[in-house]
Amino acid sequence: MPKHVILYRTGFSTLLIVLGILLSLSLPARALPAIQEVTSPGGIHAWLVEDHRLPLFTLAFGFQGGVERDPADKQGLAVLTASLLAEGGAGPWDALTFQRRLANHGISFSVDAGRDAVRGVVRSPRDQRGVAVTMARLALTAPRLDPRDFERLRDRQKAAVRTLAGDTDWQARAVLLETVFPNHPYHQRSLGTEKTLNNLTLDDVRGLARGLTRARLVVTAAGALTPQELGKVVDQIFGALPAALPDRTLLPAVWPETPVAVEVPREGEQTRLMFALPLPRPTDPDWEAVEVANWILGGGGLTSRLAKAVREDAGLTYGIGTGLAPMELASFLMGKTIVSNAEAGRVQGTILDVWQRLRDEGPSQEDVARAQDYVIGALPLALTSTASLAEGMLELRLDHRPPDEWAQHLARLRAVTLEDVRRVLDRWLDPSRLTWVALGAPHGMTFTRACTVPDGTGPAVCR
């Protein structure tokens, strides 16, 4: 039974141990899902977690390269193209008929453009897979791209831009990305701005759709499909895609040498704080130790050092946390919290103190063990549906990882030592390198730059 039960009273933990033994005798423990590698008759490679206990499956696909490839004056193109492929009708069916046909057969089909990839998901009852396959194939190879749907979905995207523009989390994040990646497409707006959306034409959409080629494709699936069935399904959906087209290469995103502190004045009672610093890529040998360090610092929910100091002990916020953002060309750690204006400087000071103390004193062996237990225990708990399995595998494939990556990752996590965590705290997690964005009317903070609240029309204006 768990070693941390020691936290609680003896009688209590004895009962836990007895119950735990009873339970572990009565139930099989499931390990990580087994991933099969499948090569279709047409030569498309796919990963499969086969499970026939529910009569359904999820198939996920991705094309390397996403909104980062949008030309600067055409931001929003990848997202609009994805919407048109998923919702604009295909082959013999107009948009409405296409959607009705999917829904009436219990199938869902979606395409979304992320920073680094265009991703899609097909979810279908097993006995409707013929319909699902036909519709997904037509959506990718014979989309209607009707001007009326182009206008309709572009209008919807403009509305989404205007809605987001009123969201303080979005506002702060936009300023942060514009601050740290001023010369790299990573600062671009995924949904575009009203102006860049007005620049888009159906020809732009056709061009991007033509670039979704087999050379950039990865496919995964989970659920009630045999490897033979999956082979047929992927050939039918993707077999007709062109093999390849030349790709645009992107330069690594370079983090600024000097940290920046940006004030974004906004009326209101609260200040939204965001803070970030650069990290190594997940392929770096330091990555797992960084994960452990982040969990101890701010990733571990209410039990992290930052949550303990700012929320649990002082009650200064509803939430504070840090997370890791591993992107294809840049990785970074980002933290955020919302505090009352009057307390902003005090909270910033607390964050810096707690962080520096963790760096100076190092975590305890127990901290490291708890973080490892969490991160190791959490992985199988995240894989609880055919969708989470297929989409989880898709991320591995987009990141060029092997099929046993989950097991390898857990092994590397288990091998992390206290010294490793101290080393990455020292090497990567220096709070004096943090770039800050404070959106609100913060008291007690000093800034090197001030920007306007970004709206849906263009970048924030800074001085």
């Binding site: 339970l23 423990a29 359904l56 209008d155 009672e269 209410l302 009650g315 549906s385």
Partner: protein
Amino acid sequence: MRFLGVGVVLGSLLLGAGMLPASATVFAPQRVRLANGLEVLVVSTPLVAATSILVGYRAGGADSPPNESGVAHYLEHLMFRGTTNVPPGGFSRWVADHGGQDNAFTTADGTFFTTLVAPGNLAAALMLEADRMQNLAILPATAAPELNVVRSERRQRTSDDPEGRFVEGLRHVLFPGHPYGEPVVGTESDLTAMTPDKAEAFYRCRYAPSNALVVITGPLDAHATFALVAATLGRVPARPVCPRPPLPSAPSPVSGSFTQREAEVRQPQMTLQIIAPSRGALTAHGMSADAWKATYALEVVAEALGGETGVLTRRLVHERRVASALNVSYDPDVRGPTVFGVSATPAPGVAPETLKRALAATLREVARAGLAARDVRSAKRRLGYGALWARDSVTAPGLAFGTVWASGQRADNVEAWPDRLRGITHAEANAALRALDAEKRRVAGSLLPEVVGVGERP
């Protein structure tokens, strides 16, 4: 922790869930009631290496004593702040140490605690739930900062958020003088006057085994799981529970419209909120078979009108192009009166007032002409597939049973859902739609930018 206000977006879980055409049930739970009154449901799911636990209490925002709005939600927070056995934060710490996740949310009807752990840790998690069901320690040193956290949560979600203010204001206009018109998180003044004692009294009053439900979902053997529950939560002594204050039916709104202008809002949003029957209210006040049936018919109507291909979407988004997106919602599984909502975003260049009129007028046209048989059939079919997908989740069963049970219904009404929906006829769907259209208790809500837009009058 989160609180769920029952707001403009009333997405019923069961609208997303649904029936499996081939089967008469949804999750097929095993059910027992323990000697101390606790109701236990166990759902066996394949495909997962995780066990999800939901513990629900029939104690929500609408159960607050007068001038104590927010007490249920404050108590939800305090349930993580330690017991006589476990230190403050110890529950979350134990869960996190095992890679699990814990969270909680409060609605108008109930408070729910959710924990996700590996199957081997189920016993310990149940032990901790049993502990905080009976041994909560509300201490000044932790209860006072936690109240600040709650106030900060209110600021973040409501008072400092234009949409949050809009939802709160709309509910207030829609349910004047009714507990459902009060925010679950609490009003500013009630939170200012809140004390740990009030939370303690609420706990003593309502957190008892006979007022609780536990739903356990995972790769489980039901009998072994019942034995575990009996050895943990089953040992919590039975206690008397304070009676739930009855919920009045919906009053007439003071005004038929609610408009809020916000400097930060760039994109107008419109919503038409119409009072509609709920299964919780029908359970409480005694029901006719027809009224009961009408709630299922309205679920079919909501699906036939909204979504990607519903009649309103077709007319207003695709044909007339006055909206760029449209959403229809109806949640029948609440304890008091509920709302049928049609929400939409005006298309560029369309004045909000035009869309506002179009929502009501088009709903009326469709109600008068009637839904086509084909649209009703296809809505039923779409809803039906939802149940298959709901089973591909380890958390959906707990949420579905929990909300239905907290509304005062039997939890396993969820299982009857496919048959009930299947039985709805074309004529019954249209009758429900006509009754909805005839309902006078309604509010048209508009969230608008402060700057006066195209075609608008100040």
